[in-house]
Every structure is written in C-alpha cells, then in structure tokens.
C-alpha cells in the first residue's frame, strides 16, 4: 500500500492507505482521530468537516492522497488539551449542541469562517454553515454561539488562525 504524509493538529504522521481511501478514513481508522464523524459519507452532511491547509473540506469525499503533504486541523486541534477554544466555549454556553454528532463539523466550519471574516453577519454565518446539517437542535443557537465567539475573539484579540489558541 502506498504511504502518505500528513500534519494533523500540529503533529506529523506517515501512514499507509488504499489509493481510494478518504481523508476521513485515514484520520479515524489509521490515526484514531475520531473528532470528524462519518455521517452520510457522500459529502452532504458536513459532520466530517476538517481544515485542509486552512480550507474547509468534507474529509469523507476528499481522497486521502490529495491531502498528501498537507496540514489538517480537526476539532481536536482547536485548543490545547484541557482547554476550550472560544467557539467551543460559546457552543457550550449557548446550548449550540444537543446530540453533538454534527458539532465537530459545525465548529470547524465556524472556524473557517472566523479565520477569514472575524465579524460575520447572521447571513454570512448561515452561508458558512450551509454544508453542515444538524438534525436535533436547529441552527439558531449554533448561530448565536458563533456570533458570541466572534465577539469574544474580536474583543480579546484572540489568535484564532494559528494553532496556538488560548
């Protein structure tokens, strides 16, 4: 089996995979990074969302070898162990999750948005989350959480783009 190199959440990996494997399969089954979820496995639900070189992608339909040599951020990489990213804190405070299955993808999609646009409107948040489905709680609380996190990040000048997040 061919091998590929990945940097996931700041750590380097070299891993063997089938040429038809998806990035999601490599993350979950080979590297045991299970934040990204297997939902639809057809690119519709967004539960598998990760950042690939800073770009939001659906890892379930990203061929693993396209990501060879790339940097991947999953929900595990948003904050240091034991700490919460402002987005995670806001999701908690605003009840932005119910069953939690869509949450890793929602958080990553939200991070992709705030990295580019620190002061999004409600409509811009809806557009940014348009590839992510939640089947429990609806989207209002998730949107409110993202607005709150954006506010906090602007006020504290928190660095959200880098790996170092306080």
């Amino acid at each position: 089996m061919p091998t590929l190199k990945l940097k996931v959440n700041g750590r380097d990996y070299k891993v063997e995979a089938e040429p038809t494997a998806t990035l999601l399969e490599v993350l979950r089954d080979k590297l045991l990074i299970t934040g990204p979820k297997v939902g639809c496995n057809t690119g519709d639900c967004g539960a598998c969302s990760v950042l690939l070189n800073g770009q939001l992608v659906k890892s379930c339909i990203t061929n693993a070898f396209i990501s060879d040599g790339c940097e991947v951020i999953t929900v595990e990489g948003l904050a240091k162990p034991g700490e919460l990213h402002p987005l995670q804190k806001a999701f908690y405070e605003y009840y932005g999750a119910q069953c939690g299955f869509c949450t890793p993808g929602m958080l990553i999609a939200a991070k992709a948005l705030l990295d580019e646009n620190p002061n999004p409107t409600r409509e811009e948040i809806k557009e940014a989350l348009s590839g992510n489905l939640c089947r429990c709680t609806g989207y209002v609380k998730i949107i409110e959480a993202i607005m709150a996190a954006a506010r906090e990040l602007r006020e504290t000048g928190g660095v959200i783009a880098g790996k170092e997040v306080s």
Partner: protein, 282 residues
C-alpha cells in the same frame, strides 16, 4: 479488495501519457467531490486514479478576448475571481449555488463538466455563454463546443486517453444581458430540480443572438436552440417571450425522479424562461 493504482501526475504531459497507457481503466481525479462519492457508494472502483492537481491546470486568464479557465480551477476561485465577474458574471452567479463552501473549495469546473450530470450548473451556464472546451491527449488538443460535449447522463465526447484541459468563454460585449435561476429543494448542497441560464445580445431593439440553456430537464444540460432562434433578429415583446418560453419547454425531455415529475419540470421550464426573459428585458 482494492488494487487501485494512484498516480500524482507531475505535469499535463505525464497525465496524458498515463491516460494513453491506461485508457478506459483510468479515471482522472480532480477535486473528487463526485468521484469519491461514487467510490464510497461502491458504484465504481477504478483500476487507476490519475490525480491532476499538480498539472498547472488551476488558472483564470484572458487570452485574446476570451476568458480561459483551467479545468482544475475550483468553484470557490471562480466565485472570488474579479476577472470572471467582469467577463462572465453569469458563471459567477451559477457557481454561487453549486454545493456549499466546502464543496466549492474542492470541486472543480472541469469535474462539474466531465461528470456530465444533466443538472451540472456550470454546464448550463457555459452553454448559455457559448463556451468551448479544449480536450488534450498525447495526440494533441482538439476543441469542442460545450453543446457538443455532453452525450448522455455521465457521458461525454471525451475519448479514452483524453483529458479536459480548459474552458474558453468568448467575450461578451456591452449589449450582452444575462439571467440565471436555480430551482432546488434547499439553497445549498442540492442538485438542481431545474436550472435556467440565458444570455442575449440586444442592439437597438433587436435581439442579435439568444442562448437559452436548461439543466436537469433532459439527458444532458440542454441548449434550447429553437427557443433561442425564435428571438434572434426580432424585436422581443411579451408575445414573443411567451412563444420562446413555450418552445424551450417543448425542447425539454425530462424524467420523473425523486426531485420532481417530468410534468412539473416542463411546466416550470416554461415559466422560468418566461420570467428570466422578462427580467432581462425590463
């Protein structure tokens, strides 16, 4: 057990050589947003994957007067391009409704065309824009019109060993007018129930040319030639709009599927063409 071979072609020449070697056994991998879905669903297991992300096919530029877009250009790049916005705003509008941000980051204009879905939004837009495609292989480059490219659902005129290299969009002038509408069951990540793209050139009060394209109403993205020709060299009024809309609807050959019935598609095709033409001429 998969025994697929994976090649990351270093340039277009190597990609062509690989496609010549493996022909039908090989599939081009671009963004993967369609191909990987088919692989995940076990509908397809290619013997060979040729990844063309490193072949320098990601570009948007103007050559002569035409706008040229490389096949590996993703939808997000098209959406953000000032050049496409200036030269082919219709394509920007169509691209805005493809997938969702994460799909647009990966999916490419070339993949949207080669996948040859009857509902391909870029296909419908490019039909209205009168675009041409350069197809490349070890024997050289040949050019086809977009309306000659699609031959059926998932089928194109690409020969074994051929790769879609780039899209050429002819210049639009100051008399060009356009309109786009996508009807879907939701706003994002949705296959069109019907899409309509119209491009007209109006000089004085005469229509110089008209191209009316419809998606998801035929086995291929459809150029409604008869409807377009009804408008050409005519002064367009309400009666003519109604006639052209009816003609466009008669040119469709839709099917019943999970998204809509054939009856609905025919009916709404007529209404949408009427609406968009009226909008353009307001």
């Amino acid at each position: 057990m998969a025994n697929t071979l994976f090649y990351r072609a270093a340039d277009l020449k190597e990609a062509c050589a690989l496609m010549a070697q493996y022909e039908r056994r090989a599939r081009i991998l671009a963004g993967g947003t369609d191909l990987m879905v088919a692989i995940n669903r076990r509908l397809l297991l290619p013997e060979v994957l040729v990844y063309i992300g490193n072949c320098g096919l990601d570009y948007i530029r103007v050559e002569g007067k035409s706008l040229i877009i490389g096949a590996m250009t993703n939808h997000d790049s098209i959406l953000r391009s000032a050049l496409v916005k200036e030269k082919a705003p219709l394509l920007v509008e169509a691209t805005r409704h493809i997938g969702s941000p994460s799909i647009r980051n990966m999916g490419t204009i070339g993949g949207n065309l080669v996948n040859a879905s009857p509902a391909a939004d870029a296909g419908t837009a490019l039909l209205a824009l009168g675009a041409k495609l350069n197809l490349v292989s070890v024997s050289g480059v040949r050019q086809v019109k977009v309306e000659e490219f699609f031959t059926g659902p998932g089928k194109t005129v690409l020969k074994p060993g051929e790769i879609l290299q780039e899209v050429l969009i002819p210049p639009q002038n100051e008399n060009s007018r356009w309109a786009w509408y996508k009807l879907g069951k939701r706003k994002s990540d949705i296959c069109s129930v019907i899409s309509v793209a119209i491009s007209l050139e109006i000089e004085g009060n005469l229509c110089r040319y008209a191209r009316i394209a419809l998606g998801a109403v035929a086995p291929v993205p459809l150029l409604a030639k008869r409807a377009g020709s009804l408008l050409e060299r005519q002064k367009i009024d309400k009666t003519l709009i109604a006639k052209a809309a009816k003609a466009a609807s008669e040119e469709t050959t839709p099917i019943d599927d999970v998204r809509a019935t054939a009856w609905y598609r025919r009916k709404v095709s007529e209404n949408l063409v009427k609406r968009l033409l009226s909008q353009i001429l307001e």
